[in-house]
Symmetry: C2
Subunit: 505 residues, 2 copies
């Protein structure tokens, strides 16, 4: 029996050949097992981090919470929420002590978030109480328009003043609840209703179509962004990068403003917000029009991007294309235009937000890499692309992973199967984000951190992973000088840790 | 704009620095894209294969079928079966021309299959028509026993002669349909009924408990194995390796036989089968008792394995442990015993058949590797273990992947998320198998090949992947001299290809 085991001795202690007792063979096997598994733990983001004494204490508290949740569910998988649809357990998340703790945690930056997908249906409903709002109930959708007089734009039925419709309704609470349904994807029996990816995407896109006239009213647009920043700050986020299609805004005086103006209005609101909340570190814009049209359309988009960059150089972060990847145009269709602009404009492309292996949407990943993307939105399909995965690692391209979005938008059912588990195990550069959390009633980042920590990452992953993911979000952001924000992050982190240790969270 | 692109020029054509026109930059980007994607295609199993002219023609036919199915579902994902539960589309598989073609395809060997999980409920029902069968309907389960007289073993109600119960029933068809339910996992609304992994495993294990007295009756045991071989041959399989717990068999004369006898009876039936069907290439046994008990139990199992190996050296392939990995004992508990026997006995351990990242069941993968397993059963969790994945590749340990089993037994919902997609993309040594196809009414290998080819592998994967997977099953089998079987495989393959080309399949 010595034969096989001397090989390992050779590997471990040089070329000395010794005869092994049974015990020694077991010892060596155990040691080899440990080396293999340790090597993997060492690859996990944050593994190299040295924790302070306080952090070690906090880690113990956090890991006790995590293991309590996990061990119970391991024995009682019927209670393991992360194998269910998010809507089936979202209400229960608040019961978790660990979730509450993660809410308190400084989470750095939110880097993948869409303009009007940030705030929930309750918030949007309140906007419908604003003055001068008209509504048009069509057969298949609903339109809104702020106007001093009856709007003259198309309506299958007729434009009615929202206030009057609401007052005329028999039951205002019921009326509002019905209205709220068009401001959210949340629904009972989501698995039955959203039976496939196109069905849920259709409802998802319908939300943006329905709300267009509501959100593009300049005062609403500005308020919404202000409140997005507020929600982010409230969720212990210091900085955000917002993707926006930059729609044309309008006002009550018949003015219509272009995309550059919309960008400018974002920047003005940001300035106002930072004056009101000087502890917030800022925001940047990723101009992200729809992945539709032809090469000429993209050329125009890129020219708008250039103009914004010129006018708002500090606020502009880069460019992306959005919409359901499977049904939209692939990046390769616009390669000449995108390459042409690539020296001037930073790219943050959505790529691989698909389950269809070997299709154009899947291979958008290759294009994003070839186009020198700074970060990749989702990158869900990267797990099936070992060569591209190496490129991502080598070129230090961060993956903006949105675990809950991927569940709601039907890429995955059980969080434990999310490729993020492998991305983390492989030590890929990952940042967590939330995509459109308003549509599924999630916090800007807390839910995604919680699901990742308990439902995706290894049981062994601890405080170091959480800290590293938060730090990654700063490191891979478009902030030019990161010293100040990292310094402030560390101060807030230390306070967070102290609060945990003192039981004050 | 030249700056960024000259880097790629450097990589591609040496260190000549040239100024690029826009067109050239696009060309280079396209070329780089193509190189990256081609590099991945080159890693896929079978990519190195050179197809004959006939194979090229057959490939065109097969790829037309595959792309027709895929392209339709890409646009109409509500019809994409492989994102659904297997029970919700199994009846539709037969409509697929491609499936019928895959049934005809020589598939080599079936290497991961369990003794009494091979044949469907219709088959098992017929066994209940045998003479001398008694049945005992307990509250929570049903027991069977062949006996000349009323059995005297425990029964909550009373032992009744099956023939009499059936004849006394008001409606025999209904009676048989009810009885069949305990011989299958197939059910309406599987997603609701099998709400979590433990629920479905409990029903799964109950099947083996219920049928124990039925299958361990020596004549039934032997007939079942004979018919398993027949089903395999019918599905164009040439050779199988069967895992068995080797239960004690009994007969009508009060004899009870031990595990070694059960192994012997398998070998005798195999001999008989090969006499009847000399075109079948054989079978070997993997002794696979339950992953329960203590170190002493395992020692006894290993000693039985040794005895079988000594008595039936050509029939015995190796050793494994079976049962729900999460709830059973991890391999590391038995490391000393398993190491001790590892020079003598080949291992084919189940490992990583779990979604629980970082648990003992997950880390069974490390133990299987350290113990020098020849193949790994399932290896589902390997995708989360980059270091272990490297070891598997380096040591050429085949993964026995069972995609449909993993769906039915609740590891995965959508086949497109199955880690097999990544295993193939990474060029890992993979063989396809079916685990317990009788319980979900699948063919021995055809359904697993079909789901893999259309629902898991890249859209680009073609005939070469199918052929390579079939050849892998021979290469990674325990057949000592593989020349004869590979030669015969090639003859059958050529005939299969010719039949396709001539439209005669």
């Amino acid at each position: 029996m010595a034969g096989k085991w001397t090989v390992f001795v050779g590997t471990l202690i040089g070329s000395v050949i010794i005869v092994l007792s049974e015990n020694a063979a077991t010892e060596i096997a155990l040691r080899r097992r440990q080396i293999l598994l340790q090597k993997e733990l060492d690859m996990m983001p944050g593994s190299g981090m040295v924790l302070s004494d306080s952090e070690l204490k906090a880690n113990e508290i956090i890991m006790n919470m995590k293991l309590k949740e996990l061990d119970f569910c391991f024995m009682n998988p019927q209670y393991f929420n992360f194998s269910k649809h998010f809507f089936d357990y979202n209400n229960e998340v608040n019961k978790s002590e660990l979730f509450k703790l993660i809410q308190k945690m400084p989470k750095g930056a939110m880097l993948h978030a869409h303009d009007t997908g940030m705030l929930n249906a309750d918030y949007v409903l309140k906007l419908t109480y604003w003055d001068n709002l008209y509504v048009c109930f069509n057969n298949n959708n609903t339109n809104f328009k702020f106007s001093k007089n009856q709007p003259n734009t198309a309506c299958e039925t007729k434009w009615q003043l929202m206030k009057e419709v609401r007052n005329a309704s028999e039951n205002v609470e019921k009326f509002d609840n019905d209205l709220k349904k068009i401001f959210t994807l949340v629904i009972d029996n989501p698995k039955d209703v959203y039976s496939d990816i196109n069905t849920v995407w259709s409802k998802f896109q319908q939300y943006f179509i329905n709300t267009d006239g509501l959100f593009t009213y300049k005062p609403v647009w500005e308020q919404y962004f202000y409140d997005t920043l507020k929600a982010a700050r409230q969720d212990n986020i210091m900085y955000i990068e917002i993707r926006s299609v930059l729609p044309a805004l309008y006002d009550l005086h018949g003015n219509v403003f272009d995309s550059v103006f919309t960008a400018q209005s974002y920047r003005d609101i940001l300035d106002k917000f930072i004056t009101d909340y000087p502890d917030f570190f800022g925001a940047k814009l990723i101009y992200a029009p729809l992945r539709l049209g032809n090469r000429e359309t993209i050329k125009e988009h890129l020219s708008i991007a250039s103009e914004i960059k010129e006018k708002l150089p500090k606020f502009f972060a880069g460019f992306d294309l959005v919409g359901q990847e499977d049904l939209g145009k692939p990046l390769k269709d616009f390669l000449p235009e995108l390459i042409d602009a690539s020296d001037e404009i930073n790219y943050f492309f959505h790529a691989g937000e698909t389950n269809w292996f070997g299709t154009n949407s899947d291979e958008n990943l290759a294009d994003a890499i070839v186009l020198g993307a700074k970060r990749i939105g989702h990158g869900y399909a990267l797990i099936k692309h070992p060569v591209l995965m190496e490129e991502v690692k080598k070129n230090n391209i961060a993956l903006e992973v949105n675990v809950i979005s991927n569940k709601v938008l039907k890429l995955i059912e059980d969080s434990r199967n999310h490729p993020l588990a492998s991305f983390l195990a492989n030590g890929l550069p990952v940042v967590l984000s939330s995509d459109d959390p308003g549509l599924w009633d999630a916090e800007p980042l807390s839910h995604d951190f919680y699901v990742t920590f308990v439902g995706v990452a290894s049981k062994h992953a601890d405080l170091r992973l959480l800290k590293k993911l938060a730090l990654n979000s700063l490191y891979y952001s478009s902030i030019s000088n990161k010293d100040r924000i990292v310094h402030e992050f560390n101060i807030r982190w230390t306070k967070f840790i102290d609060d945990i240790v003192r039981g004050k969270w």
